[in-house]
Structure formats: structure tokens, C-alpha cells
Symmetry: C2
Subunit: 209 residues, 2 copies
């Protein structure tokens, strides 16, 4: 029962943070929406920071699971597309974290360190995927270009949501546009079948100019 309330608080907080931005939502507001007393909420989460860190913990677990997914075989372009799609779904689910990332990291040192670890792990994963494509003769890049490519893959993945929100009127719910924006970074480096495969996927997901 208490466990149930804890989860209900987290679910409501996540929905409100995503909808209205974390700085604009108080714990009292969350309690109000759930029709529980502020004291009850306080019993589960002593401060708003505790609540944010608990949500971050859920996000972190999801991302670490995604990034650790073992691959028996050399992933091809479609595997990478689907992998990114799953990443962007998770990012979308916890989008409040990505909307004000610098501010959030500034206010929560623990979150900053753990977020930085996720970014570094993401760079390792991206590097592994690119090296795999290169080893299979599907990607050609100088080592200087490769380092910049890996960094840009993680940068565009991390910042897409915030950028899209500033530049568009409706910045959400289009993971495949985000996936294409990341995959387009690889596009000019691809060789062999991979280039055609990427173009076919872009068409399949109806990416347009």
C-alpha cells in the first residue's frame, strides 16, 4: 500500500514534470493532484530533490539496460536505427530531464555525476558500433573524424529534444525524426550496402525534407 503510494507519486510527478517543466511543479501540487496530504507525500519523499533523484534512478536503470544490451552478431544499420528508437522512447518518457539538463545538473550534483557517466557510456557504445561498422567495411572515416562523429552522435541524441522544443511549436512524440537526425551523421561515412539500407529506412519511416 505504501509502496503503491510511492509509485503513484512518482508516476504523477513524472507526468507533471514532463508536461509543465520540473521547476514549475511543487510537491504540494503533486499531492493535490493525487488527493493525498502533503504529509503523506513527505513521508515517501522528504524533499523534491529526493523525488527527482528517484525518477532519475528509474531513467538511469532503463538507459543502462539499453546500453548494456548484448549483441550476438555485428549489428547492421537497421539494428542501430531500432536501438536509437528505443533510446529516444526512453528519453521521451523522461523528457523533463533533457529539457533543462544544465540547470538540473547544476542543482543536483549526484544527478550530474550519474548523467555524465551515462553520456560517457553512450560514447563508448557509439564508438563500439562505429568500429564494428568500420571493421565490416561498412563505414570509412579518419580517426579524427571518427572521434568527432562519436561525440556528435551523443550530442545530437542528448540535445535533440531541447533543440526541437525551442525551434518547433510541437517538439515531442516523433522519435523517428530524432533517429534520422542522428543516423544522418553516419550517412556520408557509410559504404557498401549500409548506405542504401539507411536511405531505405529513412523512406520507410517517411522522413521528408
Amino acid at each position: 500500500m505504501a509502496r503503491d503510494t510511492r509509485q503513484r507519486i512518482m508516476t504523477m510527478a513524472l507526468a507533471l514534470f514532463n508536461e509543465e517543466g520540473e521547476p514549475n511543479v511543487t510537491t504540494n501540487r503533486i499531492a493535490d493532484e493525487l488527493e493525498i496530504s502533503p504529509g503523506n507525500l513527505h513521508y515517501h519523499f522528504r524533499t523534491k530533490s529526493d523525488l527527482i533523484e528517484a525518477l532519475f534512478g528509474q531513467f538511469e536503470q532503463r538507459m543502462l539496460e539499453l546500453l548494456a544490451t548484448p549483441d550476438e552478431r555485428q549489428p547492421d544499420i537497421e539494428d542501430i536505427w531500432l536501438f536509437l528508437h528505443l533510446c529516444f522512447e526512453t528519453i521521451g518518457e523522461f523528457r523533463f530531464l533533457y529539457r533543462d539538463l544544465t540547470d538540473l545538473c547544476g542543482r543536483h550534483r549526484g544527478v550530474h555525476q550519474r548523467f555524465r557517466a551515462i553520456l560517457n557510456l553512450s560514447m563508448n557504445t557509439a564508438r563500439g558500433l562505429m568500429d564494428g561498422l568500420a571493421a565490416a567495411g561498412q563505414l570509412e572515416a579518419s580517426s579524427l573524424e571518427m572521434s568527432a562523429l562519436v561525440r556528435n552522435i551523443v550530442l545530437v541524441s542528448t540535445c535533440w529534444l531541447a533543440f526541437d522544443q525551442v525551434i518547433e511549436r510541437d517538439g515531442e512524440g516523433r522519435p523517428d525524426r530524432a533517429v534520422w537526425q542522428v543516423m544522418s551523421l553516419l550517412s556520408p561515412y557509410l559504404a557498401g550496402d549500409s548506405r542504401d539500407q539507411l536511405l531505405a529506412l529513412a523512406r520507410q519511416y517517411q522522413i521528408s525534407l
Copy 2:
């Protein structure tokens, strides 16, 4: 004299916003640092929003001047590198705007609209530069790739600072690393002399892996 005070307030506010993050700096703090009364500051800027908008106005003017710089001749890779260098200098000078962009745009509708206009103008400029390189036989990209490239140029330029700050310990004062991170987006599309020219510039600015 009053004009002088107004400018001193803006200079101090910019320094403090950049150093400590705009949400963490009150107008009273700014008045304190300048050893003027809160009432005096209030005479020049009725609210903190007014102060933010005045600073944004300065930034906007600088960016519009940069983006409007007419070019008599077709710019080459080095011209584009230097142009980006100037952009990143301006971004660094007003880095508080870039650190919490989504939050800032959420709280200031006027700033959001004007920032969006700058981003759209930047995309037009990037598009013009890329079309110019393509017309000169120095760049080869499909139209789908070109659209993604233009968007990524502006995305990486806009988000570099926030990303760098989250991932590194010292996220500031290295415009040429930022320039390279943007120029690397073009790199695989370059043909003719331009590809060598870019590599030579990366070496000259001591970009390393």
C-alpha cells in the same frame, strides 16, 4: 550618468548570470555587487525579466550582425571556420542564454520567439553556405542529407556549450574545439581542395582525438 549606470548593471548582470546561472542571481545581488541601491537598479530595470530581455537584445544584435555579414566572394572552408569562431565567441560571451535555453524560452515568450527567429536565420545561413560549397563542386550530398546536415550544424552550434558543460569538468573557453565539432559535420561531404583545407585547419588549431 544614468545611461552609464544602466550599462554597468547590464555588464554586471551578464558576468554574474554567466558565472552562476541566471536563475541563481537576484537583482538585489546585482545591486549589491555594484554598490547601488535596489531602488536605483529598479529605476533602470523594473523587473529581472526586463534585464534579461535587454541582455538578450544585445546578444540578438550581435548575432544578427554576424549572420548578415555580406560576402563578396564564395566563402571557402577557412572563411566558414572563422565565421563559426566569431559565432562561438558571441555565444561564449552570452553563455547564460545557452545554458538553460529551454527553461529561459519557457519563462520568456518574447525571448523564445526571437531566439527561434535567430535559429531559423542560422539555418538559412548554413543552407546558403552549404549550397555555395555544393555549387563550387566542393561538397556532395543528397537533398535529404543536406537538410539533415543544415539542421545538425545549427543544433550542434546551439547545444555544444550546454553539452560540453554536462560532460566535461571545464566546459568553457575553447571556441575552436566547438568550431571543429561543427566543421566535422561537413567533413565527409567535402570534395576537392576543401577536405584537405579542413584537415589542415584542424591541425593548425591543434584539434586532437
